[in-house]
Amino acid sequence: MYTAQPLRQDVVTPDLGKIGKPGPSLAAEVREQSGTDFYRCYQCRSCGNGCPFVQAMDYTPNQVLRLVQFGMRQEVLTCKTIWVCVGCHTCSSQCPMSIDIAAVMDTLRLMAVEEGVAIGKPNIIDFHEEVLRSLEKYGRAHKLGIMLGYKRQTGRWLKDLDVGLKMLAKRKLDLIPSRVRDVKEITELFQCYWRETA
């Protein structure tokens, strides 16, 4: 029986048995984790036009969806947009295809943290980490401690000093943190987090 030979002899036919099943695409992964079907997006750009923070983003929300659809993992996980998004859901409520775009952003942020890629807006992740340190210690957010820790990390002590002093003067920043009595119950919850990101 005649068997077809590849025209170019240097092409190695991959052994499909060895490779096994290909992993899911980025889009499938994000869809699964976010529970959001963004394949419906037809790039109308309502999300980008409505987003209050689009000026500070490197990709508009619809472009982020496109990057995910194209499987451009590196580009999308290292972009600024996913960190600038605060989850106000303006985009989600304006989307004519009712895609929960903010949920996609949530998922992409988590993936960026889990995969340890370079973070597009490092100061924002610094801030979130500072909040978590406070939560781990007291069970509640101690805002003065968070702001001081954040300043220590970013080294920008003078930035916003006037606002901070005004808040102190108005006694809006408590010196002593409000705390949970059973802090052990709280610190236990953080084991999963520090282990995952260590």
């Binding site: 209050p52 923070f53 000026q55 500070a56 600038v84 605060v86 989850g87 106000c88 859901h89 303006t90 989600s92 409520s93 009712s98 929960d100 903010a102 949920a103 949530d106 942020r109 988590l110 943290v113 807006k121 924002i124 992740i125 801030f127 979130h128 980490e129 909040v131 978590l132 939560l135 069970g139 509640r140 957010a141 101690h142 805002k143 968070i146 702001m147 954040y150 930035k159 916003d160 606002v163 005004k166 808040m167 108005k170 006694r171 809006k172 920043l173 408590d174 409000s178 949970v180 009595r181 059973d182 119950e185 709280i186 236990e188 919850l189 953080f190 999963c192 987090y193 995952e196 990101t197």
Partner: protein, 285 residues
């Protein structure tokens, strides 16, 4: 007796109301006391997890909110004032309802049951159940002549995951309208205040806040009334324009109308002096 028990609620303050927005907490407690509502603070509550836990670790975020749910006794609704806390508590409850394995693991860890049928409601919902007519009957100061922008921020009704839950658009107008205040509809009531970007990237937030305040000034409003403590702080803190419009917590205006006397103590904590508006109200009365 049964009527008395109807007035009992578990209350989750959250980090903002316990600290930076203490004036919101205090005024809400005053309003509740005047109305005969018994808000019982959740014993040893912890932070709901907020955006930071949500961003960094899903399990952590779920567990933080779940611990609060495990502290709530059955039989009385759990009330929150902060929209973000409400959102995280509710979505966590929804999550645990559909994932009994995780719920059981957490119950075992803490040795406490988690009641997934517990009602979790916003303080405005408490008021609307109380009844606007009864509320009106309790008013001691008229809000007549107060032109305010009802500022909801983003979280109170928008999250799509909770789309089938009750939402609150128009509730503030119903309540404050019943007390005589006049809502100014043509300002940016739903534009996001900038959330945590106010702490990390003020240069992004300042122009947004300017736009919101500018819209209120153009609509000739006396003040903005916010449903969210973080919005209140951001709108005050990041307003660098000359138009210094006071920003009130919803609970402050409510308690004021109900005749609370300790309002000086709340208002000294504001970054924008609200006394002009209060004087105007007093003169109108």
């Amino acid at each position: 007796m049964s009527d008395l028990r109807l007035q009992d609620f578990s209350y989750f303050p959250g980090c903002s109301l316990a600290t930076t927005a203490g004036e919101s907490n205090r005024s809400m407690m005053q309003a509740a006391r005047i109305l005969g509502l018994n808000l019982i603070e959740l014993q040893d509550w912890n932070c709901c997890g907020s955006s930071s836990a949500q961003t960094m670790c899903k399990n952590l975020s779920l567990a933080m909110a779940a611990r609060n749910l495990s502290l709530a006794p059955p039989g009385r609704p759990l009330v929150a004032m902060c929209p973000r806390c409400l959102h995280y508590l509710r979505s966590t409850q929804k999550c645990l309802k559909s994932d009994p394995e995780t719920r059981e693991a957490l119950e075992e860890k803490w040795g406490r049951p988690i009641y997934t049928d517990l009602e979790i409601i916003h303080f405005m919902e408490v008021l609307s159940r109380y009844g606007l007519d009864r509320l009106k009957a309790n008013a001691r100061r008229s809000l007549k002549g107060l032109r305010y922008v009802p500022y909801y921020g983003c979280t109170l009704f928008r999250p799509p995951r909770l789309a089938k839950e009750r939402y609150f658009q128009g509730e503030m107008e119903n309540i404050l309208g019943a007390l005589g205040a006049q809502a100014v509809p043509d300002a940016l009531s739903y534009r996001c205040c900038g959330s945590f970007l106010s702490a990390t990237d003020p240069e992004i937030v300042t122009p947004l806040v300017q736009e919101i305040i500018g819209s209120a000034a153009a609509a000739k409003a006396d003040c903005l009334v916010t449903a969210c403590a973080m919005c209140q702080l951001n709108l005050e803190m990041r307003n660098t324009s000359r138009a210094k419009i006071p920003i009130f917590h919803f609970s402050e205006i409510l308690a004021l109308a109900l005749g609370a006397e300790d309002y000086e103590e709340w208002f000294v904590r504001h970054l924008v002096d609200p006394r002009l508006v209060i004087r105007k109200l007093a003169q109108a009365a």
